[in-house]
Structures are given as structure tokens and as C-alpha cells.
Symmetry: C2
Subunit: 512 residues, 2 copies
Amino acid sequence: MTGAESLVRTLASNDIELCFANPGTSEIHLVAALDRVAQIRCVLGLFEGVVSAAADGYARMAAKPACTLLHLGPGLANALANLHNASRAPVPIVNLVGQHAGSHLRHETPLASDVEAIARPYSGWLRTSTSAGYLGHDGAAAIVAARTAPGQIATLVVPADVAWSEGGATQKISHLPLAPMPCGDVIEYAASLLASGKRTGLLIGGHALHGRGLAAAGRIAAAPNVKLFCPYPLCRLERGCGLPAVERIHYILEQAREQLAEFRQLILVGAAAPVAYFAYPGKSSVITSCECQIHVLSRPEEDCVGALEALATAVTGHNRSVSREKLTRPAMPGGEITLAGLSAAVGALLPENAIVVDESMTSGRGLMAATKDAPTHDWLGNTGGSIGIALPLAVGAALACPERPVLCLTADGSAMYTLQALWTMAREGLKVTTVVFANGDYAVLKREFSALGTPGRCAAGMFEIGNPELDWVQLARGMGVPSTRATALEDFGKALQNGFASEGPSLVEVRV
Amino acid sequence: MTGAESLVRTLASNDIELCFANPGTSEIHLVAALDRVAQIRCVLGLFEGVVSAAADGYARMAAKPACTLLHLGPGLANALANLHNASRAPVPIVNLVGQHAGSHLRHETPLASDVEAIARPYSGWLRTSTSAGYLGHDGAAAIVAARTAPGQIATLVVPADVAWSEGGATQKISHLPLAPMPCGDVIEYAASLLASGKRTGLLIGGHALHGRGLAAAGRIAAAPNVKLFCPYPLCRLERGCGLPAVERIHYILEQAREQLAEFRQLILVGAAAPVAYFAYPGKSSVITSCECQIHVLSRPEEDCVGALEALATAVTGHNRSVSREKLTRPAMPGGEITLAGLSAAVGALLPENAIVVDESMTSGRGLMAATKDAPTHDWLGNTGGSIGIALPLAVGAALACPERPVLCLTADGSAMYTLQALWTMAREGLKVTTVVFANGDYAVLKREFSALGTPGRCAAGMFEIGNPELDWVQLARGMGVPSTRATALEDFGKALQNGFASEGPSLVEVRV
């Protein structure tokens, strides 16, 4: 068995079902091996930023890693920005990158590059395999590393000669590492904080915002003076009618500071202390008030769900769930396109069990309020602030949950980064309804610049992307995705309904 | 003066005229400074891979650097693949990357990243500026580094607080470094090799393939038994009617080996010894025969043009140019689209003084033969093998030479990597005529795989990108570029002629 085949068989026998790929010549033996192992489905991205964000979206929803397949240093480099986001989610990804054969590396060749150096900034685990005989073992080690809580990017560099040589052996992982529980004292201390009566926030990140983690958080929040928060950079939040309400911390520094002003205690569960995205002259980056004490219930690498459950039991003495609220949706609005109307339409029409992928930026500020009590759904956000995640994240989410409708909400500027994902949606027939909020601006930057004065010709040219206008109807059709432009809210509602009813992808552009 | 303004004024007073940019919040003070300095023109790319390749194309044609402006680690990461290509050209680029303010870096923020680590693999020079008072000086040092022969990527990381603080001072560079001449012995030794009568190749890379360098090479090639070669990865080759013929080394290993089989001496001028792009089981990567001795006339960092001129004088004893040949073009073909017909049409219609940007991959194998004796033109290729360079390279070339027509020849798979460049062409009204060779395949990979057998379902899925079909007519129009599909050679010829006559960009898709 070649090294390549041993790696692919190792992946398949350890629950890797999907490979997001854009291989090249140096990975050709891995492609040949994938051809012989039917258990792994390969999904092609026409750009590697699609590959990495799709692997992220898949991991968020499947709660296990997919693998990637990337071509040398440049292919990896193209994947990096969305690996940045994935590393901040954080999610498990088995990141496979080809490298030249050892004998070839001593030459100055056009594609020679230091793959490890390029991988290192975003890899929690990194190894270059050195022989076919070890490659299965290395693959298994990569899976274990990727699945070590809270999930990380495990990059395995595979030299071409290691892949093509004979001597490979498949490796089966006997057990995956379990995240450690925080010690009992920490739980008790958190319980005493909650009992103090002080206004307390519970800031929950990572993978504790759905299922059991969210349910436990809901029981804790039944105590007086406690409120649930999630960071603005949001991995996956289950929400909607009947689920505990979790408030997202605002993006804008001043708003976030006001939101947290009254809180005197903040308990962190798999989340970092909240700070601004950016620094500003003469301003502190810290969002919490100086009277707010910050405590850690569990670090991201600990068992955050277990910690929440233990705290819930300690606080309430029981495991009963809190009362559930009724489904309330906005009425379906009509008339002219407005941001409020678009949000209301999404709230009115979002189907049960949908996955919402949100990178709507400034245009989408009203969306979460409008969908607060919609049928239950998952909400996935941009975790690392590198724009261009939504379209490919939706690809991965749809592949993880083929039965669920996916609603992808994206700003035009962000969508341009990885628009190639539309092609993969069409090719794989994914149930993704994409909304492009086309404001023709990098509106976030315009807002940031306003503190410095009025943009002149050069600055305005850096913020305004509406000249020439991007025509998303044509861009989508050019990649095989049916598309339409909504010029009134009725059209928009119709486009959403058609999208949700369709078995494949669709796109609607709204100019806002 | 703020640090930001001192940097921008330093750039402007040291001959930086263009800034290819996609800034973010942490670079907003640099944007404000650019607003106040009219000498630098800012060109926005909607994805950073466009920014870096445009800076590359500009540098190849302007023979001086542009600067970039990139947003933190992720923005830089998106630029990396085309910085890989630029580092192999090699060309000078002043690569400006924002970083968080120092006080902000101690927090765990979504966009925190190790910018230096991401920059290092492709930066010949790298510095993070530490204060506004030094920023002008650091900018000048970056320009000197970028312009040190043969040109390199000089990355200057600018923390936001360094940019916004007062205390900046503009720095004027007193003199740029000159590339050293190889010593006289080396020239004499090369002359003795040429006098030996052995079949000798002169392999010329980098910036010595146009103007004075090419003229000197032509005089050397007038000696018997000498032939001029350039590497397959081609920075810039001036060619066509009346210019010395330079043969490009073939991409395919076997063909390249045959091409060089008869040569017993190879003299390198700013080029590396020729090796295959990739390694293959049981095959050597070396292209030259084992009887061929390889000598270095000048290394890339030396004065390659000066070395060629000295060698020409040593060999011929005079500076006369060789005889010039007549303009011979293929006749304009008609009928069905064929690869040969497309090449002939380009040869028949290429205007005088055009810049050809070529990433046509397998579809374009006949193009150089068909344009060999066309009116003089420059030919720019993919220097690092990372696909997705052609469209943005054409942007940069067109901005460097606004009066010259640019013909951009690209494969469909490559073009999908950085298709956002079409928008910049439309926005800036660039005279670029783009031809997309749409074969619906990663044909190079299909060919490589053929040695391993017939592709199965998975492998075929990795190589075939025609399902769904990419519609380049719609993709181009979606970004504001007029476009058409040619279904016969007559249409293709017409589209080329219209493109060359137009003052703005256009695109023609041919299905091949």
C-alpha cells in the first residue's frame, strides 16, 4: 500500500467523511488514493479560501473534522485567511498540504516554498511526514490533534515521495482525547458569584451555545440577575422560539460598553474577555466597566458543556429546563426595500431548523432581533474578522446537514472575496439560499473614517465599491446559481420562499 | 505630522507613484494620509491576491516598485500566493501591512495575528515599525530594500498607533544601491566557453530579457553554436520581429530535456539551473544532460545586463547589433475554434508594442510560436507556478504603461482564482483585452494523472470544472467588463480587434 493510500484509509477509518480539495501535481497520488476509497467524498473548491471556510462550516455543524487537500505553499497560502477564522472559531480541521519530494527540494524550483512556515501561524499542530511507513500514523495523530478540545487546525504536510512510496499502514485511533472538567472549586466559586446577587453576565463562546450547553446555560440564567451573552465573533448559536435568549455583544465599542455597563461580574465559558475589535487613539480596548470582575468558569480547552451543566446543578439543584416562550414572528412586510423590512422578512419566513450563516455586516444589524423568536435555528458568524467567510461557510454547513435549509446572508464586499463558493454550491446541489446585501460600500470603513473627517477622493475610492456596480445576478448565473434581484420586499419574500423550497442553491441580490 | 503622513510623503518623494490597496480599520490613518498626498494614486482591489499581482505586473513594466496596503494578517495572507509569484519573478514591491496598536495586541482579539510570521516566507526584507518618529525612515529603508537587485518584497508592518501618532518625518533616499558587476575573470571565462565551439546555451532570467540586456544577448548569440533560452517561468521577455529570438524552456520535463539534449554548456544569467516543476517517481528533476556543464555568468543579485554587455564586447569585440528579420505574421484564420487557429489569430492581430500577459496553460502552447515574428511586444508569464496571476498582473502592467494595449491570455481554472481583477480593470478603465480559454478542465492535472491510470469518479471530479459551466460572459459583465463569447475564429478575431481598439477593458470567452 502506498503512503497516500494508507493516509486516506486512515482518515476513512477514523470518521473523516469529507475532503474539501483543490489539489495539484504534487498531491496527485493522494487524489489517486481518494479515488480508491469510496467512504470519503471529495468536494472541489475553485479557490482555496473556499476550501478552508467550507471545512470550518462543516466542522461547526458536524462537530467533527473534515480534511482539506491543498497544493503546496501557495495553495495553503490561499486558504490562510479562512484558516485564521477557523482557528478563532475554533474548529477541528485536518489540513493536508502537499510538498515536493525531498530530492526535489534541493533544487530551486518555481513552486518551492517553506510550507511549514506558512502553516505555522494558524496550525495548532503541525508535522511534515517523513516516510510512507509513518504516514498513516501521522494522519491519525493529526485527527487526534484536530479533535483535541476545543478543536484546532492540524496541518499534515505530505511530501510527494512519502505519498507515492510503498510501505503504508492504516492506523485506527483507539480513543479520542476528552476535554478535562474544570475542578470542583471553580464550579463552586462560580456558583457563589451567582448567589451574590450582583448583576452577572455569563459570556459563552465556542461550542457551548447549542444543545446541552445552551440548555444548561438556560437553567443558570433562570437565577435572578444573570444574563447570557455570546461574543460578537460567533461560532454557532442555537436560538429562536423556546430556547434561552443569548445576547450577542455589539460590534461597535461604545454600544458594547453600554451593553455591559451594568454588569459587575462576568463569568467566561470558553470565551475570551470581551475587547474591541480595533484600538482607537486615547481609548481603552476593554469593553467591561472597571468595576466588573472577570472570572473564568472554563477555558476553551476544557469541557465547557460539562462545566455549564455542573454549574447549573450547583445553582439550581435540579436539571429542569426553564419555561419556553411562544413562537412570535414579525409580520411579512411589503413595499420598498429597507434594512428593517429585510430583517422582518427574514424573521417572517425563516423555516424551522434552518442554518443561518451571517456576514451581512452593517446591513444586517437588525437581523438577530427580527429572528429572536423565529422557529429554532442555528446562527453561524464570522469568528476571526477576516471577511469572505459566509459563502463557503454555507457550503460546509449544507454538506454537514443536507436536510436543513441554509440561509446565507452576506455583504457584497465580503462576498467578493470568495465568490467562487457559488460554483461549489451549484455543483453539489446544496440547499443554500444566499442574500447579497449590495450597498456598494465597505460601510464599516466609511463609518470608521468618519472620526477622521470627510473622505477625500482617495479615501472614498477605498470605501466605495459601487463603481462599476457589481451585478450579483450575473455573477451567480455565471457560476450556475439561479439568481434574481429584489426591488421590493414582496420580491424579496418570494425569493426567500422559492429558495427555501428549492433543492438546490439560489441567490437574491438586494440593493440597500 | 503623523507617522502615517510621514510614511506616505516618504513614499511619494522617493518615486512611489501607485498604491494597490485593500485597507481596513487598522490602516485607516494611512488611508487618511494617502488622501492628503496627491502624488500617489490608489487602486483598490476587491481581494488581496489582486493587489499583490497587480503590484508585480506594475513592477515588471515600470522597473520600479509600487506599494501595497494590506489589512493585518488575513489581508496579507490573501496576498501571499501572488507574493510567492512576485518573489520568484523577482520584482520590487513595498509591501505595507497594518498591525494592531501595541496596547491592543496584549488582548485576545479576533483579528490578532502574527503578521511578521505570515510575511516572512515571501519577504526579502521585513520590519515592524516601532514609532512614528522612525516610520519615514523605515519606509525609505523598505524602498531601498525593495530596489536592491534583483528586486525583492520589502514588508513594512505598521502598527496603528505608530501610524496615528505625531512626530513623523519625511525621509529622502540619497542614492539607490547598484547591482555589483561580476568580476572580470567570470566574464573572460564565459567568453572562453563561447570560444570553445561547444554547443552552448545562454539561459537568461529576470530583468535581462528586454532592452539593453536582450540586445547584448543578441550580439552574443551571433557567435556560432550559441542559442538563447529563457526559463519557462518568465518575468518579462521582449520579442517579435527584429529582436533576437529567445527560446523558452518547455514546461513538460521530457520535452525540456530533449530541447536541451544537444547542449554541452549552459551559461546562467540571473537564472537558476533548469529543473522540472515537479518530482516524479524514479525520474531525475534535472533537465540538462549529464554531459552539460553549467556556469554562472551572473547571479540574479548582480548586474545581469552589465554582464551581458561585457560578455558581448568580449566575444564580438564590437557593439554592433545582429541583423534583423522581417515582420511575418500568420494569416488570419477562419472557421471553427481550434487551439492552432486561436494562436494564429493572436499572431495575425497582435498590435505593435502590446504587452501580452500569459497564463493560458495547456490551451496556449502554440501562442509563442505564432507570435514569434509579430510586431515587437513584451511577454509576461507566471513566475512562481501559483495559478491565478494573469488577470491582476494585466491590471498592474496596464497601469504602468497606460498607452500600450494589454492582451491577457488566461485559462479558466486560473482565472477563477482572482477574477475580482476584472472589476479593477473596469473601474480604472484599463486597456486590457482578456481571452479566457475555457476548456472546463484543470488539464495539466488530467495529464499528470494519466501516468497513474484512468481517473475514477473522485479524481475526475477534482480535474473537471465544467459542471456547472463557468459563463465568463456573465462573470465579466457582473463586474462591469464588456464581454462576448466567440464560437468561430472570425468572432474571435473581431473580439480581439474591438478589444485592441477600445479605450477600456473587454473579455472574450472561447470554449476549447
